[in-house]
């Protein structure tokens, strides 16, 4: 499946300045793996030392599904957009 990952401005420093990156994968996990293959610096941003998606990230998929650490096997369809949303809580 061919999908797109959309990253916020803060993360663009790790994706060569790109906001939208084309990825291949049947699940969110596979799409993130492909993203990391293209931009290895994203690995440490997204995953901890135990290869678990950091709690800062929630991933919104076209159609309304949401993926997070315990739910990375959400299927991805052709043309889906995965928005990488990291949580901020400061005030």
């Amino acid at each position: 499946m061919s999908a797109e990952v959309k990253v916020a401005s803060y993360l663009m420093q790790y994706t060569g300045g790109k906001e939208i990156i084309k990825v291949e994968g049947k699940s969110v996990r596979e799409c993130l793996q492909d993203l990391i293959k293209q931009f290895p610096d994203m690995e440490k941003i997204l995953f901890d030392d135990n290869n678990i998606l950091r709690a800062f990230f929630n991933i919104f998929i076209t159609g309304g599904d949401v993926a997070f650490a315990e739910k990375l096997d959400v299927p991805v369809k052709d043309g889906d957009i995965l928005t990488l949303l990291y949580i901020i809580g400061g005030g």
Binding site: A8, S9, Y10, R54, A55, F56, F57, N58, F60, G64, V66, F68, A69, K71, T83, L85, I87, I88, G89, G90, G91
Partner: protein
């Protein structure tokens, strides 16, 4: 009824189509919780006091620190070491004596949150940590009180409006709770987001405009961009999943 002095004071916003004297009277009667008197709480409370919101309940248990002053514009050099609520109370009364300011020195927790928000028209989430934001969100949903969320980090900010029974809540958006960490912030960032939150409050109270429901407004000051993430209520949301939606907003 508005007094002649109030009509003069609020003349410029009474002129706005949709507000008028009727809208200004709604603002005068409104009771607003402002949870937090820091970077976000400062502009929120200043603009809501200036706009003539009737009652502002400001909740914060911190004292002013020197490192707060780059962004918490309600607190000044002379206030370092004082309770933020005392500092806020003095400034807001000087700004607008018509506004009733209630300040409460307390840390919001699971045991007191219901009592603190009960009977109010709207909650403004101006906290500095996610666990308390989630607690406020939960209480807002339980009491069916709208809650205006705002958060900042560095040059970035986020805002969204939760109307319980009508729109997605904060837990529909964020499914995980990251660890609490000290966050960097440019002073102007909470200024931008706080003003958006104050605007949402005024729109909700007066019943005008399109609220920030089911969408997260994301501000990127570094690249000077606003973007939106549209999202829907999460059917299995631990907070609002069991609530029947009235209609879409």
């Amino acid at each position: 009824m508005l007094t002649p002095e109030e009509k003069q004071r609020y003349e410029r916003q009474i002129m706005i189509p949709g507000i008028g004297e009727a809208g200004q009277e709604k603002l005068k009667k409104a009771r607003v919780i402002i949870a937090g008197s820091g970077g976000l709480g400062s502009p929120i409370s200043l603009y809501l006091a200036a706009a003539g919101l009737g009652t502002l309940r400001i909740i914060d248990n911190d004292k002013v620190e020197l490192s707060n002053l780059n962004r918490q514009i309600l607190h000044w050099d002379k206030d370092v070491g004082k309770f933020k609520t005392d500092s806020a109370d003095k400034k807001l009364r000087q700004l607008n004596r018509n506004v009733s300011v209630e300040t409460i020195n307390i840390t919001i927790n699971e045991d007191n949150v219901s009592e603190l928000v009960a009977g109010f028209d709207i909650i403004v989430d101006a906290m500095d940590n996610l666990p308390t934001r989630f607690l406020l969100n939960k209480s807002a949903v339980e009491h069916k009180i709208p809650c205006i969320h705002g958060a900042v980090s560095g040059f970035e900010g986020r805002a969204m409006t939760v109307i319980p029974g009508k729109s997605a809540c904060l837990r529909c958006l964020y499914h995980t709770i990251p660890p609490i960490s000290k966050f960097p912030v440019l002073g102007a960032t909470p200024g931008v987001i706080g003003c958006i939150q104050a605007t949402e409050v005024i729109k909700y109270i007066t019943g005008i405009g399109l609220l920030l429901t089911n969408r997260l407004l994301m501000y990127d000051g570094l690249n000077m961009k606003f973007t939106e993430l549209q999202f829907a209520r999460f059917k299995d949301c631990e907070c609002c999943g069991n609530i029947i939606l009235e209609d879409k907003t």
